[in-house]
Amino acid sequence: MALDAKIPGGPLEEKWDRHCFDMKLVNPANKRKYTVIVLGTGLAGASASATLAELGYRVKTFCLQDSPRRAHSIAAQGGINAAKNYQNDGDSVHRLFYDTIKGGDFRAREANVYRLAQLSCNIIDQCVAQGVPFAREYGGLLANRSFGGAQVSRTFYARGQTGQQLLLGAYGALSRQVAAGGVTLFTRREMAELVVEEGRAAGVIVRNLVTGELERYAADAVVMATGGYGNVFYLSTNAMSCNVSAAMGAYRKGALFANPCFTQIHPTCIPVHGEWQSKLTLMSESLRNDGRVWVPKKAGDTRKPSDIPEGERDYYLENKYPAFGNLVPRDVASRNAKEQCDAGKGVGATGYAVYLDFRDAIVRDGRDVIQRKYGNLFAMYQRITDDDPYTLPMRIYPASHYAMGGLWVDYNLMSTVPGLFVLGEANFSDHGANRLGASALMQGLADGYFIIPYTLGGYLADRPYKAHTESSGAFNDAEEAVRQRIEGLLNARGRRTCDDFHRELGRIVWEHCGMARSNVGLDKALSRVEALQEAFRQDLAMVGTAKGVNQTLEKAMRVSDFISFSKVMIADARARQESCGSHYNLAFQTEDHEARRDDADFAHVSAWKYTGEDEAPEREVERLTFEHVKLSQRSYK
């Protein structure tokens, strides 16, 4: 099958406008005859639900939390980019487009990214109209900051809680449509199976997490906005319930999984303390503006940081990258921290941490200035670690943060299953091999507010109403498959907890499919995951029944999907015989130890096709062509 991204013709700047005109419209009076299912209520899902209901579609929206306001978009800290050029510093749609393509190490589609940059401005307008309290200047206009190494100041923010405020804006719009009857909301429901009938998405089977019952919902289209797979690493900055199950459900029914090996490992997180640890907390990367990263020069040095004299400290980022110093991009900073710790120079009880030291900044600027800039972050750090970062250097370590890969979608955000659309972090479309800071919120909202309302109409305009019914054979089969799967898990009488399996999975992929990869390591990882999967089938400890609340069962369903998914992720990393962005294969590096791309053979999207539970997936390729940017080697020396 040739993967056709359906990119419209015409000049880059006009593609989206032309496409909007070329797509068929659904008559306003007919929209109410179509039912659309939206899975997930993060930025993408909430904004899509609200907007589609405003247009008149009958929307059924599902989330696994008790309230749509709790989706993990809420935890985004830093901000949201937009090419407004309010600062008169040379920003433009074209510059945001270029920065995003380059930041992604030239592994994203030009047409999608250009559209994202165009729509970025509408997002800010929309959010302000909703009452999102963005930071403002004394004159009353919106404030911006620079972020993630961008040379222009284009990031809009609401204190350190930008994701929360944007999500509450979208949640407000969603709530308004719930009250108006356009959206029917189903909370505490988790998708268990995608129903495909005659090759098209026809609805879903969801598990009611309170009653345990399986419920059927038919629709004319399914919009999946179910987030990323960062929790495959067990420890990550994601929320506990973030999972890959909905995406894997779609994958098993024919949706291709694109670039699953592209995972962002964020350099500044609070390190692991012990085996029982359940999650890692992100410390905003803005800290690297003033903090200096170092480790002791001598491996195994256990002295207190204050006892290590200046001459025995290795400020390795400043030494290695004199031009960018501590501000190198996320992937580079993360990889270097790992190298130092692997060489035995890591600090703290576990040896898996490096120092981020504010001593010199406090001497230079005074404690008050540092407190004004970072006070809330320092307080958060102290609450978790009980260390005072004003007097002791912070200890930080990289952690899994964001999934650039996801279900393959075309320009219309439709997957390879007709009628199944995928939005936000759940799709693969815009960030290439590395995502820039403050771009995730932008993409989620662009997809939900401004893209899906058009492209969904383009799909539905040719479709009959109510083509699928919940009593059909496809629904019967799908429900029966879920029932059997749940029974299989509930019959387990083994001796290892689900968390124990998940922790081991995390260790395997972190070691071999994390910040640095090798062919030997990836092969080893695959056989270890296969052994783990077998052990999971034999030795899982389970309690409770299918009825009522059973959080152990919920977890087991998710972990079993993470194990299956990790095999696709490893296969993708193994097949990509180059390094690019977050994917760093040790065999492919420049003399400066940076990622060495192979544009001749790998300037493409790898999309993986399901061939059976224990079968190796098949790879399809979408070639990427670059007409508006010149491919170049990233360097930060």
């Binding site: 809420i74 935890a75 929309q126 009452g131 309290p133 204190r159 929320a239 309690v543 009522g548 609340v549």
Partner: protein, 250 residues
């Protein structure tokens, strides 16, 4: 310094809304002082599962204090002993070896118990659905800088907007009122020019919804403010009351 604790936990166990519940006693050992409160419960739950017992059901998600999913009454205090801290951000170093820790769900007329420490807080969503938004459709918004908003107002609105909707204010209130929660949204939107056009309608319908959902009235006990993990001030309740009064004047 990392140490390890042994604790006696008395946790509310209740299979569902229609059956009786009771405190059940569990002993935990070797809990690191670096662990969070919820990680301590994870450790207990893993042990229970290995013993073939039902684990303790509780809501939780982000574990960084922003999603508002977690919450329990710990030794009589919503979210436990530490000020302005959600349960997931409470660490075990704030407990002593040998402590007895009583853990109960949010209790309020408007919150039905689902299981153990899980309660149904959808009544809070209903209040937002009654009017906690600006009625603008997607598209057609004016340029974001078309209306200037003073930094002071914007900051005040943001103070209110920090509410995470966890429901601790309701659980802490002797009357089971949702005044702090509702007022945070009213106050956030009432202060911004974007929220003005429908300010009267909004406050009237949100207040009416509070009563319909079974929340009590404010008795100025200030327990809500003390329990709020985000430090939302009761001045927002005062502002909501003013807005509510204003809604009667045409």
């Amino acid at each position: 310094m990392t140490q390890s604790l042994g604790l006696t936990l008395k946790i509310w166990k209740q299979r569902g809304p229609d059956v009786k519940g009771a405190l059940q006693t569990y002993e935990v050992r070797d809990i690191s002082t670096e662990a969070s409160f919820l990680e301590m419960l994870d450790i207990l739950n893993e042990r229970l599962v290995l013993n073939g017992e039902e684990p303790v059901a509780f809501d939780h998600d982000c574990r960084e204090g922003i999603c508002g999913a977690c919450g329990a009454v710990v030794n009589g205090k919503a979210h436990g002993p530490l000020k302005e801290t959600t349960l997931c951000q409470l660490h075990m170093r704030h407990f002593k070896d040998g402590d007895v820790v009583v853990i109960e769900p949010w209790r309020s007329r408007a919150f039905t118990l689902i299981k153990d420490l899980m309660v149904d807080r959808s009544a809070l969503d209903a209040i937002i659905q009654a009017g906690g938004y600006v009625s603008v459709n997607t598209g057609g918004a004016p340029d974001a800088n078309a209306v200037a908003v003073s930094q002071e107002l914007s900051e005040k609105a943001m103070d209110a907007a920090e509410c995470i909707g966890c429901g601790a204010c309701v659980a802490a209130c002797p009357n089971g009122a949702a005044m702090l929660f509702t007022s945070a949204r009213v106050s956030h939107l009432a202060q911004l020019p974007q929220g003005k056009p429908e300010a009267k309608k909004r406050v009237a319908s949100m207040v009416a919804c509070m009563s319909e959902q079974g929340f009590g009235n404010c008795g100025n006990e200030r327990e809500c403010e003390a329990a709020c993990p985000k430090g939302i001030s009761i001045t927002h309740i005062a502002r909501m009351n003013r807005e509510f009064l204003k809604s009667f004047f045409k």
